[in-house]
Symmetry: C2
Amino acid sequence: MPDYKVYYFNVKALGEPLRFLLSYGNLPFDDVRITREEWPALKPTMPMGQMPVLEVDGKRVHQSLAMCRYVAKQINLAGDNPLEALQIDAIVDTINDFRLKIAIVAYEPDDMVKEKKMVTLNNEVIPFYLTKLNVIAKENNGHLVLGKPTWADVYFAGILDYLNYLTKTNLLENFPNLQEVVQKVLDNENVKAYIAKRPITEV
Amino acid sequence: MPDYKVYYFNVKALGEPLRFLLSYGNLPFDDVRITREEWPALKPTMPMGQMPVLEVDGKRVHQSLAMCRYVAKQINLAGDNPLEALQIDAIVDTINDFRLKIAIVAYEPDDMVKEKKMVTLNNEVIPFYLTKLNVIAKENNGHLVLGKPTWADVYFAGILDYLNYLTKTNLLENFPNLQEVVQKVLDNENVKAYIAKRPITEV
């Protein structure tokens, strides 16, 4: 088994889906959490100067979705053939589009612009995505695609806290089928064990 | 061989990397170009109401990168093992980050905000990405990763016209190694044949 290290700040955010996937598949990993003080010296050693980073047998790679897809393959959550993999990738990219649309508003520096964008986000974007995804979850028996557990479910469960944090809401409050997707992941014994021991962080 | 259809507007933009990949691998596809008049009736039949869409044996899937990755697997441009696939995915996602950073500025509706963001884009973001990618291309013998042809090269060559259009520049003017990456793709006989017969469009 390769030697895995996850490098990220001491936050859930973009690193948590990767930590969830490694935990879900019971792949031991070194959960390295970098402080803001350590980061400037470390930044030049990271690909594109970004984190999260996954180190596999000493080789450092970045990009959240790419790393999650790689881990998913190791634990047989990436589909049984290219057409299944395509359908999983498409739903993951849809969740990622949703995240980006939320992040653009949450990180908007101009308060007036932010307020205006927030209206569209809350009245249109969020209901559109969650209604669609909830129907998909219903049609797939409490999974996001293919009617079975895939890394799309784990990714969604892993990124949800961050999306709730960014929107200052409980996004899934009225979406029971999406709640079911997340609960199934959280019921995984290895994910439970990881959550029990992870540092408590706001983000 | 599956029956492939690409649905998109009559533009290069996000659909061109997919058309390039199908052409590169000599996979025949139906290049369906939807007019603005036809779109409202068709929109509800498309996953998430978006295009481009790839139809494989009657099944419609969306998400540009997911579709490109699927086609890349069919034509052996997606890496020989999961670790190679990870490295390809990471560079493709980096190019996609670059595209998103450009698009956010290009599609900014407020002229004052746009002008301000344009300064950072032109002075920091664009030079940062292109300098990094050019070094990578040099280290990889005129490819973007793994020192050999992968779908990252084809994706980059396919999206370049759109990035030039959005930035109103010739992005690669001073980056000869990236020019080499693109030229190798454009020298592919099947890509040449596709370009010779595609409709001429501004975007």
